[in-house]
């Protein structure tokens, strides 16, 4: 990085959406062959910034130079012509086309397309960067990782010297992620610059430099070798983030929730087979397992959304069989669903309206035949304050909130309901580090209030940090239950893959 002309220079770039400033006066430089990480919480402006670089959005102010030449990126076509390539989180490929067809589609400026030449070029590119792609394969037959390679090769085929990767590992297995970083190393060696958008710290630490965005502003650009993870988290969140860890607590009283041999099958598929569990008041039972092994169905059965074929579910000794979802909720059960915008929120409704979802007939929110707007707005203001929801006010529409803030609305509503039992499914999925810490703290606070908590998460960090006991689920069965303190990945990993615990505690 000596006298070379920078690959990309951005000067004082700003982009506004109405009252919101998504990018505020951002300047940065990217060198040839550099892996530059763009780090920030959801809504910090990473996507807006990369959309400006790829010509999807036009900045309101600022200049962009590529290889020393000022450019106006008014469309992706112009960005591509200037040497910018982008691999989106959701691939833009035609499944019924071959790899070759997907790469050349839309590239010919001429009427004729030299397929043979294109094929040769693609093979050369993929071999050169260590990608095993066969141009004749149908994209529909490729794995997720291979589809990503097609996207990368397509960008290179179009002449990219600056490649933007938007959360590329979000869809990859750990092994595929490793391969991706090997490819990135090859790209760097060839002088191609890579902008990596991510919020996974271990990936950030592999970059050359990091630019941290917060609330649309550039907090700073640092050399990765000079900083620690904590430094970066601090820059990103704006305050130190503590590791929340459950204190050992005396579990009191009888079982708040007792599940006796519940079995649930739909069609010829068995989702739950003979599950027995017991959960005391003030106890967190974490359920570990690969997604789709019956965790969703277990929580849905308890919440009353699915009717088990056999077995009993007892809440404080009362059989929940035959009770409606509403009846169960009224008995003090809160349910945080995993897919928040599908199951938990109405995106066109305001925060105030979402906070009473399912309770719209409740006396608390009614005056006579009408909804008591004063009461619901008051409730919304309290929730916005208590859960530090970043919103313009109680009348803001839920669909405009970031994932973390949307999740907080659900938490506010369900924690309020969960006097006795809280069912949490993936409470930290897709939310920022700062919010994860917040969610952990709130769950522990709920436990200290004496609620029994059933926590399902694919993030083992959630499970280890919070659980008093950990149960592992595989194909609708409980493979073993451990005390939280004694559990570690070595013990739980094999059970998640279907091996039964030898001597489960």
């Amino acid at each position: 990085m000596t006298s070379a002309i920078p690959r990309l220079v951005v000067r004082r770039l700003s982009k506004r959406f109405g009252a919101l400033t998504a990018n505020d006066d951002i300047s940065l430089t990217i060198n040839p062959g550099e892996l530059h990480c763009l780090l920030g919480e959801n809504g910090a402006g990473k996507s807006t910034f990369s959309a400006c670089l790829y010509g999807l959005l036009q900045p309101d102010a600022g200049e962009i130079e590529i290889d020393g030449v000022p450019v106006e990126l008014t469309s992706p076509a112009r960005a591509i012509a200037s040497g910018v390539g982008m691999v989106h989180q959701h691939f833009v490929l035609v499944p019924s086309f071959t790899v070759l067809e997907n790469i050349v589609v839309g590239t010919g400026s001429d009427l004729r397309l030299d397929m043979a030449a294109a094929r040769a070029r693609i093979l050369e590119l993929s071999r050169g960067f260590g990608l095993e792609l066969s141009p004749e394969h149908l994209v529909a037959d490729l794995s997720v990782g291979e589809k990503q390679w097609v996207e990368i090769v397509k960008a290179l085929y179009l002449g990219a010297s600056l490649l933007i990767l938007d959360e590329p590992t979000a869809v990859l297995t750990p092994q595929e992620s490793e391969r991706l970083f090997a490819v990135i190393a090859q790209l760097k060696a060839a002088g191609i610059s890579v902008i990596l958008i991510t919020h996974k710290m271990n990936e950030v630490m592999r970059s050359d430099r990091v630019s941290v965005l917060r609330k649309g502003k550039l907090v700073g650009t640092v050399r990765t070798a000079d900083v620690t993870r904590d430094d970066l988290t601090m820059m990103m969140v704006g305050r130190p983030v503590a590791q929340v860890r459950a204190r050992a607590m005396e579990v009191r009283g009888d079982a708040a929730l007792r599940i006796e041999g519940i079995t649930l099958a739909k069609g010829d598929r068995t989702y739950l087979s003979g599950i027995d569990l017991e959960l005391a008041a003030g106890e967190i039972l974490g359920i570990a397992g690969v997604a789709g092994n019956g965790q969703d169905e277990l929580l849905e059965a308890i919440a009353g959304l699915a009717k088990p074929d056999r077995g009993r579910i007892l809440l404080l000794g009362e059989d929940l069989q035959g009770l409606s979802v509403h009846d169960i909720a009224r008995r003090g059960v809160g349910y945080v669903p995993s897919d928040r915008f599908r199951d938990g929120l109405i995106s066109e409704f305001t925060i105030a309206e979402n906070l009473i979802l399912g309770q719209q007939w409740d006396r608390r929110w009614r005056s006579g035949p009408f909804l008591d707007e004063a009461a619901t707005v008051r409730r919304a203001r309290d929730a916005i304050r208590d859960f530090s929801i970043m919103a313009s006010g109680s009348e803001m529409v839920a669909g405009k909130l970031s994932g973390g803030n949307a999740q907080k609305i659900i938490l506010a509503r369900e924690f309020d309901k969960a006097r006795h039992l809280l069912l949490c499914n993936q409470p930290t999925r897709g939310v920022d580090i700062g919010v994860i810490e917040f969610v952990h703290r709130e769950i522990l606070r709920k436990r200290e209030e004496g609620s029994a908590i059933l926590l399902v998460s694919e993030e083992l960090e959630d499970i280890f940090a919070l659980s008093d006991r950990i149960a592992v689920m595989f194909r609708g069965e409980i493979m073993g239950v451990f005390p939280g303190k004694s559990a570690d990945i070595a013990k739980i990993g094999p059970l998640m893959a279907g091996h039964r615990a030898e001597a489960a505690a």
Binding site: G18, T74, H326, L357, R366, P369
Partner: protein
């Protein structure tokens, strides 16, 4: 898209849509609709200026014409509201037509049992019975949907056919046929059951007031009550409503009952306010036009009233225009459709902007 880019422009979605921009876009598209209508008039050899003049004159030119426009708008307000309430909940009730018939028939059946009783009793009975009749008929579609997952579009359209023929049967050979009459219609109803005329020398009747009250109540219901909350929630994300403990079957039933009740009032209003007898001609097509009215009115009760009056004016003015200029009245249906399409196009267009990019 490509073409626009070659010319140096690009279509972009607006992140925020101003009310002013929207009004401008809709006004422009309505102007375009009028120009297209003018071309149609020219095509049939009529001077468009004269045609539009007579249309407006026929709709609003005199006191009587203006009240007549409101008379024509009255059933459309009811059916527009019926459609708006259902569509708000994403329940595609195409059956307002049949529910109008059901309302009229049930009202007639109940009222015909009370000849000579006090007007207050008879009027109360026809209003309540019309709502019940329409609601029950829409309820059939709701039950089919809840119990057998029959798509409401299919069931409501089929139910429309059934009831039209059922009425025909009752009038032709059945107990309701007018003694000694040739036509498929009942005898005149008891004078005590007629909706009173509001203004002397006009046909504007109590039904119009009932329609305005219904619109106001529908607006309050949608905006301010738990029922309206559920209607709006169902329209946006029924699943979330269900996961949070509201029974979606109850919501579907409730919405269709309300929708049917509103449609039923249209039948009552035409039979007892305008024609004073029950016949298919008195009550048909309002259900279908109500769909257009509801969409033009943005599924908003107040918008529905405005759109219904616009359509009432169109229907009313058209008769006059036909007499004065000889335009075929079928052209009016074309005009209705043109207005709807241009309006929708204008509305959609206002969500985008054309941005100058360098060619």
């Amino acid at each position: 898209m490509r073409l626009a880019e070659r010319a140096g422009f690009r279509l972009e979605a607006r992140s925020e849509i101003s009310a002013r921009g929207r009004i401008a876009a809709v006004a422009a598209s309505l102007a375009a609709a009028i120009i297209l209508c003018a071309i149609l008039f020219l095509a049939v050899g009529v001077n468009p200026v004269a045609a539009f003049q007579s249309l407006i004159q026929g709709a609003f030119g005199t006191w009587r014409a203006a009240t007549e426009t409101l008379v024509k708008a009255t059933p459309l307000i009811f059916t527009g509201l019926a459609t708006a309430v259902a569509f708000r909940a994403r329940l595609w009730n195409i059956g307002a037509e049949g529910q109008v018939f059901a309302g009229a028939m049930f009202a007639y059946w109940c009222q015909s049992a009370l000849p000579g009783t006090s007007p207050f009793l008879q009027l109360s009975v026809i209003i309540v019975a019309a709502m019940i009749g329409g609601a029950l008929y829409a309820g059939l579609a709701a039950i089919l949907k809840i119990s057998f997952r029959v798509d409401e579009v299919i069931s409501t359209v089929m139910l429309n056919y059934i009831i039209v023929y059922a009425l025909s049967l009752l009038l032709l050979k059945g107990p309701w046929s007018e003694a000694g009459g040739f036509f498929e219609q009942t005898a005149k109803v008891d004078p005590g059951s007629i909706l009173p005329v509001l203004l002397g020398g006009t046909r504007l009747h109590l039904g119009f007031v009932v329609a305005l009250v219904a619109a106001a109540l529908a607006w309050i219901m949608i905006k301010r009550t738990p029922v309206g909350y559920e209607i709006r929630a169902a329209g946006s994300n029924l699943r979330a409503l269900e996961v949070q403990g509201s029974d979606s079957r109850r919501v579907i039933l409730m919405v269709l009952l309300i929708s049917g009740a509103l449609a039923g009032l249209a039948g009552m209003s035409e039979v007892y306010g305008v024609h004073y007898r029950l016949k298919a001609g008195a009550i048909s097509t309002y259900g279908y036009t109500g769909i257009i009215v509801a969409i033009l009115g943005q599924l908003n009760p107040l918008g529905v009233v405005i759109a219904a009056i616009l359509f009432g004016a169109l229907v009313n003015g058209a008769t006059f225009m036909q007499i004065k200029t000889g335009v075929p009245s079928a052209l009016i249906y074309a005009i209705e459709a043109i207005i709807l399409l241009f309006y929708l196009a204008g509305w959609a267009a206002s969500s985008f902007r054309l941005r100058r990019i360098r060619p």
